[in-house]
Symmetry: C2
Subunit: 243 residues, 2 copies
Amino acid sequence: MPNPTAAMLVIGDEILSGRTRDANMHHLAAELTRHGIALSEVRIVSDQRDAIVAAVKALSDGFDHVFTSGGIGPTHDDITADCIAAAFGVSIDVRDDARELLAAHYDRQGSALNEARLRMARIPEGATLIENPVSIAPGFTINNVHVMAGVPNVFQAMVATVLPTLTGGAPLQSQTLRVDRGEGDVAGPLGRLAEEYPELSMGSYPFQRNGAYGTNVVIRGSDGPMVSEAMAKLVALFPGTPA
Amino acid sequence: MPNPTAAMLVIGDEILSGRTRDANMHHLAAELTRHGIALSEVRIVSDQRDAIVAAVKALSDGFDHVFTSGGIGPTHDDITADCIAAAFGVSIDVRDDARELLAAHYDRQGSALNEARLRMARIPEGATLIENPVSIAPGFTINNVHVMAGVPNVFQAMVATVLPTLTGGAPLQSQTLRVDRGEGDVAGPLGRLAEEYPELSMGSYPFQRNGAYGTNVVIRGSDGPMVSEAMAKLVALFPGTPA
């Protein structure tokens, strides 16, 4: 059975402006790989309603699971929940259980559950809440879309909550060989090996170290013994260093 | 005049698998911001023909400029040039000037211009070459799409070649204020300030340091004096530290 597919949608201007470097994508990619779900596309869009709605629709239609990060806080540009509701044509409003979570939290903190913070209890109709053990304001799942916070430690906690509820595939195995040859020398034989193993994915990543050219060759697949077999053939072609 | 828009398309499995962390996106985002071009969307797709062709079409239609990275090397999974040709319905073949660049380079190196390396001279009809001072194999521009290598130092050199040829806008200015208040306290007044300045983009980024909550507020726009004016009003609302 092929591995389930996933896409990620990162919402927010801060990465597009170059102000911050994304951390959530890298975290999710590694977690999904471990869980046997193939991350197949990532989109990063700005805080624009049309862009978010279009991306949610396209990714929800195209992949088994969609994970979003960002845009569910209290400020004017946090419009993700409303856009998700619009994408699925459902209503959205402050929901009692989410409001109660927030009220108890801010009461403990001695802060006010003001109008801005109450925005974080807006949940599209029919969604299931995703627990936020860090700062309480919940994420939610609707259809195949998991809507999570952009703050990295909150995002990571939500991923840890959601992933065990999803049916994964066999974990994707990966083996790497470091070859002290340029990519152009590796390419021909590697291409023929890739044809021999259509179930596996083979990638080559050139690097330069201390002035010398080299290539990391990565073989990936969900069938561990097959990955090892193909790697043994690769080593016979190019004696290298497992990396 | 509004700033020109741009999108980036990252092609390759290595980021989606969590193996490597993207560096090119972060570099391009900062360079475009400096050049007054607004990076508005990024997509990362795997080495799959259909995914690449669809993304190129959508982004080329939707934005003033498109920058791609990855998939123009010598191996079997380097299919970007062919996909670009397919997206624009033009033919592709080994081009004499690109072949001569490669032949001279590998001759100097004492390596063979083998069949795999010759793939890097495949250029879609009507494209203009982008110089590669690092490893010679050229990128190319066709219509509004700039096709560049994924290896970071080559990517950066190609960006440096292409950007001065594009008409930018006024450089996007950005000012940041660090406020020692939670995002929920900042949200209301910030939303009203954002309504007052529809030409500016205002974002807030919560953080936690030493157990205390805080918020970085960023005001961006191409009108520098207006950014300063809005920032002065923000400081009056929330005495903070310029960051």
